[in-house]
Amino acid sequence: MTVLAPDRLDDALAALAGDPALTVLAGGTDLMVEVNYGRRRTEDVLSLRRLERLRRWHVEPRPGGGDEVVLGARVTYSDMLGADLARALPALAQAARTVGSPQIRNTGTLGGNLVTGSPAGDTLPVLAALDATVELASAAGRRRLPVRDFLLGPKRTARRPDELVVAVRVPVAGGPPEFLKIGVRNAMVISVASCALVVDRERRAVACALGSVGPTPVRDHAAELWVMTRLPWDGRHRPHPSVVEGFGRRMAAASRPIDDHRATAAYRRHAVGVLARRALERAWDRSAAA
């Protein structure tokens, strides 16, 4: 077993092109649990630790207008809680704050959350609600995929073995976002159900994605359209309760939860409807106050 730790991306991509069977190590919070518990044999490893450029982020204008935040794949959950990045992407910061503990947040990375592709990945509903794009690189070149096309199923992604996720491009929302998560305590907990929602007053749009209630984050464009056409955009007052309830009902119906050791499908479906309702109310109130 050899651990390769290049300090240049090109060297990492060349190594992966030469041996696509390399196990890619980012933070290690998922990989090392599997190794420790003997669920995974340790093969040759490509460590991304020394690729410092993947730790950076910046803001750039989007071709279609507005800005997007470009986050290197090794940006950690703790990085997402840094003041400047949290201001640019508040929902991502909210989600990052619910991940594990300080120790885990210091170690785990955004790219790792995506490539692990767990249905319970906490950043995934945020990335889905904000229509983020995943940037992949290989020795042969780069490509970009919308998050919804990158995540194929539980722990299945569109990453080819010779590719690395190098960056995630997240459009800056045109209004206040909200992220809510249910677990048995406020720390060290894998999500039972979660919800990311954005109210964009400028475009009169609502985007909502549910986590842990389907193989990948759940969006329902019909439900979003339904609520968008019923919100009182011309005023600052709250939407009619039937609108908020109807939206929660529609999102719950769109969810596809399963029974597992953390919760029953029935509980998850109920909970996610409550979360969608609550997220809509909170984000709407903040958009009205802005």
């Binding site: 649990v33 490893v45 720390a187």
Partner: protein, 182 residues
């Protein structure tokens, strides 16, 4: 440049590489491929301060600093820590103390260790090294944390004896002592 760390243990002799632990270069021999930093610290380098409990980052009892950042040693691949500065609880003992001495007497203890003892924050003691590292990390970054900040910072360290009240009291005590000394 690509660092290539051989963890294959060719010839059955086990891996051989070097880690920087508590400021000293330490040669690691005989580690198994895929060993966590925690296993290497405890079983190869004779540093048993970081404790092994859950091996999945849940309990915080193996907390160490890697390049000054608080992490769980059980989730670090040992070979991937080559070239990093690793600080364990042994490296936090007061100047002049030797590994293991910290248990012997007051003068060897850091202010956090002493406060934990005096406030009754140590019962079985298994979680204590992890708390010591995590509290030092918190107070180095935030000298005067609020009660909720302390709870959030220590949320990844589990204690099954104290009910946490006395651990939180110990943190408060250190914050007060350090403020008075400034």
């Amino acid at each position: 440049m690509t660092l290539a760390i051989d963890g294959s243990g060719g010839g059955g002799a086990g891996a051989a590489y070097e880690l920087t632990v508590n400021g000293t270069a330490r040669r690691v021999e005989g580690a198994r491929p895929g060993d966590s930093l925690l296993h290497v610290l405890r079983d190869r380098l004779g540093l048993p301060g970081a404790k092994n409990a859950c091996e999945q980052g849940e309990c915080g009892s193996c907390s160490v600093l890697v390049d000054g950042v608080l992490v769980c040693a059980c989730l670090e691949l040992a070979e991937a820590a080559v070239g990093c500065d690793v600080t364990t609880v042994e490296g936090m003992a007061a100047p002049g103390a030797e590994p293991g001495d910290a248990a012997l007497g007051g003068d060897m203890l850091t202010d956090v260790q002493r406060a934990l003892v005096e406030a009754g924050g140590v019962q079985c003691g298994f979680c204590t090294p992890g708390f010591v590292v995590a509290v030092h990390d918190l107070l180095a970054r935030v000298p005067d944390p609020g009660p909720l900040e302390v709870r959030e910072a220590l949320a990844g360290n589990l204690c099954r004896c104290t009910g946490y009240g006395r651990i939180l009291a110990a943190v408060e005590r250190v914050v007060g002592e350090r403020a008075a000394a400034r």
